[in-house]
Subunit: 80 residues, 2 copies
């Protein structure tokens, strides 16, 4: 199974990378761009054939290593 894990900053957490991108876009002449937020996407292959088991494993990875639950949200998509 493949897992796609998207990690984003929680609302209210300052996002300096997003702000920098917003500033650069404005500098390049892009108008009307707001709320730029940058997150991470991690793709991996799991040696599991059961979707529920793969999802549980990916959740555990997020909790233990990939995401910081104080500041970040994560979403998991499982595909064959």
């Amino acid at each position: 199974m493949k897992a796609k894990i998207t990690i984003t900053l929680k609302n209210g957490v300052l996002d300096p990378q997003g702000k920098a991108i917003e500033g650069s876009l404005k500098g390049l002449g892009f108008e009307g761009v707001t709320n730029v937020r940058q997150g991470k996407e991690i793709e991996l292959t799991l040696d599991e054939s059961d979707e529920a088991a793969a999802r549980a494993k990916a959740e555990e990875m997020c909790r233990k290593l990939l995401a910081n639950p104080v500041m970040e949200n994560y979403a998991i998509e499982i595909s064959p």
Copy 2:
């Protein structure tokens, strides 16, 4: 319109961040995890009401600033 831009490394491009994550997951006892790749996700709000126009603008941003087309692929999702 909101745009969600996912930027991933092209196949064949070395991904040291992904390798580091893979190593850490193994160190924590997660077995059977392979092909770990890390990408970026950028969310932004565009001052456009037309989906095609918003997509064209997001594409231009990817080409001009957000992605490196030599090493990276990008995917754009537009939502209201």
